[in-house]
């Protein structure tokens, strides 16, 4: 066992961190704001990362990456997530849309789709959820009719982040065979978002605009060469994608940064000696520490070539509940002015804690709810019998 990064890894972190400190502007608060500078900034930053070889660092050499170790990937994730993911939507390209294409795509698809991702030039979104297919994703009904050299797609997707950024492409899950059992009639399509028949309707959230969209698909034509993987075998790609994605977000890193902000705030406000404030912040820190170690446990398994399914769910249980706890305790420490948002001159820490609390209201829902994670741990991890 070894609980330290290597000197080389630490040096890389310093280099990356210095670069990001210089590049990420003060106004950056992630993608889901009214700020129109967000999308251009994120494209520009990704191009610079690509120039330095840091964008697809973790991709295998045959697809233009440098096959960086899982630990360097972890460092990238931590530094990015601590800064509200300045890669914007493109982290998805790198973490799992690209890898899915590599594994299931044809050579033509590789040549067409991977290079723009590697250059940081393209925005993808993910069209999976539907109004009646949330936790029960496999019950999706968006229909793709096989018309020989193309498919005609009709249906509706929801909770599609970045569709209005605008996204260039969409990784779209459709029902291609309605008569097959529900997991066996699904296909994955690569949808050009400029195709006629697509309507994007933004859904505003408590955290601000642009977070989610509905995507309506009305007789949308998708050429057959944009089918990814086997027809009716899309569910295999979903499962593989989840595996790529599992430890893809270093949520704990942002929580750790926010705890640092709160420590500074408490000291500045003369609360550094307050026993209750000390107790609450130390509690958050231990939970952060636990979450981080459990993420490292999953990454250690990846380093050995194992797939940490249950371990990733355990890490996620800790990550997401930590985020919510940090938001709640943070606001409690700020007191009444914690109610004020970024932009209000009386908002402490420039409204950051308010924003963090708000943003994390759905963190135990998104990307597999807390309940789904517990089911995975109970059934796959502990071998408990499934519900009848």
């Amino acid at each position: 066992m070894d609980f330290e990064f290597t000197e080389e890894e630490e040096a890389f972190r310093t280099e990356l961190s210095d670069f990001l400190d210089a590049e990420v502007p003060d106004w950056w608060q992630g993608m889901f704001t009214e700020d129109e500078r967000a999308m251009p900034f994120t494209r520009e930053l990704c191009a610079k990362l690509a120039d330095r070889g840091w964008l697809t660092m973790a991709w295998p050499p045959e697809h233009g990456g440098s096959g960086a170790s899982v630990w360097k990937q972890a460092i990238v994730r931590e530094e990015m997530w601590a800064r509200e993911e300045p890669r914007g939507p493109q982290y998805m390209n790198l973490n799992y849309i690209g890898p899915l294409l590599m594994r299931f795509g044809t050579p033509e698809q590789h040549a067409r789709f991977l290079p723009p991702m590697a250059r940081g030039e393209v925005i993808w979104c993910q069209g999976f959820s539907e109004p009646d297919a949330g936790s029960d994703l496999a019950s999706l009904i968006t229909r793709a009719e096989d018309r020989g050299d193309h498919f005609i797609v009709n249906g509706q997707k929801i909770w599609t982040s970045y569709a209005d950024s605008p996204a260039d492409w969409c990784l779209l899950l459709v029902r291609s065979n309605p008569s097959a059992p529900k997991h066996r009639g699904i296909s994955m399509l690569l949808l050009d978002m400029t195709t006629p028949g697509i309507t994007v309707r933004p859904i505003d959230t408590m955290a601000g605009p642009h977070e989610f969209n509905e995507v309506f698909l009305d007789d949308v034509r998708v050429p057959r060469d944009c089918l990814l993987g086997g027809q009716d075998h899309g569910w295999d790609l979903v499962v593989a994608g989840l595996t790529f994605e599992r430890t893809g977000i270093a949520r704990y890193a942002r929580a750790g940064r926010v705890i640092e902000l709160l420590v500074d705030y408490a000291n500045d406000a003369g609360l550094g000696d307050d026993p209750i404030v000390r107790d609450r912040l130390a509690d958050l820190y231990t939970r952060y520490d636990a979450a981080r170690l459990l993420n490292y446990r999953a990454i250690s398994m990846q380093a050995k070539g194992e797939v940490p399914t249950v371990e990733a769910s355990v890490a996620r249980m800790h990550n997401t509940q930590l985020e919510q706890a940090v938001g709640h305790v943070g606001l409690e420490i700020l007191g009444p002015t914690g109610q004020l948002r970024a932009g209000d001159e009386w908002a402490p820490l420039r409204g950051e804690i308010h924003r963090y609390w708000t943003r994390n209201i759905p963190s135990t829902l998104a990307g597999g709810s807390l309940e789904v994670q517990k089911n995975i741990v109970a059934q796959r991890g502990l071998g408990l019998p499934r519900e009848p």
Partner: protein, 347 residues
């Protein structure tokens, strides 16, 4: 001992519920609310109010929280309480009748930058005309009278040009503002010593009213959760048939019920001057935590939809969080309660 509402109280609660059903979506429900007489519930009859009790006011606030109906009722009634308890007969004659009818509204300005909460000492000087900034003041543009907390006690300020208004964009739907006073003429409201007692009492009443409003919001969030759990199907069955969902709803029920009876008891104690400090502080500190739990559950039951502003859940979430962050955090209230239950240094 009897925790059942009287027939009159039940009627009042039903009336308030009916009002909410009719007026929750009004752009400005205040004109309609004026006709209800609720602004005068806590104003004595000789000043044009109905001289009812805090229990009655709590029932109204609870119903309004279900809307949530956004109105200046709670701050205005709070200002009236300060004037009633500390005002000279002249001041009472000047303000109470119009506040009681709702013709004018009032508010109370407590917080300043650097104050941990409403219970901390206010830095603003009350000697002479007022200068300085109060933040997070509940606000309507045509508010007529402002009760201001200063280091020398309570002051009354009439809305005038000497008050500059900066509108906040706060968590919940109620408008709030930062008020900057520039040599604003102010009238004394009770002696400095009296003021401290009156202010503590005003804050207690305000906390219980806000709590009742949050309870209404929490009750509504529970109803929405039950509806969603009943109607939303996943894996071929209503999600409410999953124990993880059903038990969250049951825990919400248990917490909302606890908050409600703690609030009713606090209101009763304020009406009867019976151990009010312990009752208010127990209610506030329990509810601060309970509201967090209730809304964690509500969002978890609702899924992503509850986070979208086109669904109504978020309005209640904001009410509850705003309540939690106002009028004393859990720490403050538990510390106060600890003394009440006998903790302290031994002589």
């Amino acid at each position: 001992m009897n925790l059942e509402l009287s027939d009159e109280q039940r009627l009042l609660a039903d009336t308030a519920r009916a009002f909410v059903d009719r007026h929750a979506d009004d752009a400005d429900p205040w004109p309609a609310m004026r006709d209800t007489g609720w602004a005068g519930l806590l104003v004595p009859e000789e000043h044009g109010g109905s001289g009812a009790g805090m229990t009655e006011f709590v029932l109204v606030c609870e119903a309004l929280g279900r809307g949530p109906v956004v109105s200046p009722l709670i701050p205005s009634v709070t200002a009236a309480l300060a004037l009633r308890w500390a005002g000279t007969p002249d001041l009472q004659d000047q303000w109470l009748p119009t506040l009681a009818t709702g013709a004018f509204t009032g508010t109370v300005a407590v917080l300043e930058a650097g104050m941990r909460d409403e219970w901390s000492p206010a830095p603003m000087s009350g000697l002479g005309a007022l200068t300085g900034t109060k933040v997070l003041v509940p606000w309507v543009p045509d508010v007529a009278v402002i009760v201001v907390v200063t280091s020398e006690g309570l002051r009354v300020v009439e809305r005038s040009g000497a008050v500059r208004v900066h509108d906040h964009d706060p968590l919940c739907a109620e408008p709030h503002a930062a008020l900057t006073f520039q040599q604003a003429p102010a009238e004394r409201l009770g002696s400095t010593a009296d003021s401290a007692v009156v202010l503590a009492r005003v804050l207690d009443y305000n906390a219980v009213a806000r709590l009742a409003y949050a309870i209404g919001a929490a009750e509504r969030a529970l109803e929405l959760s039950v509806d969603h759990a009943t109607n939303r199907h996943q894996f071929g069955r209503p999600i409410g048939t999953f124990q993880a969902v059903a038990h969250r709803c049951a825990e919400m029920r248990a917490d909302v019920d606890a908050c409600r009876y703690l609030a009713y008891r606090a209101a009763w104690a304020l009406d009867h001057d019976a151990d009010a400090a312990i009752a208010v502080t127990a209610a506030k500190s329990f509810a601060n935590d309970a509201m967090r739990r209730v809304f964690l559950h509500a969002h978890q039951v609702h899924g992503a939809m509850g986070f979208a502003t086109e669904h109504e859940l978020h309005r209640y979430t904001r009410v509850a969080k705003s309540f939690e962050l106002s009028l004393g955090g859990t720490t403050r209230h538990r510390d106060r309660l600890a003394t009440e239950i006998g903790l302290g240094s031994r002589p």
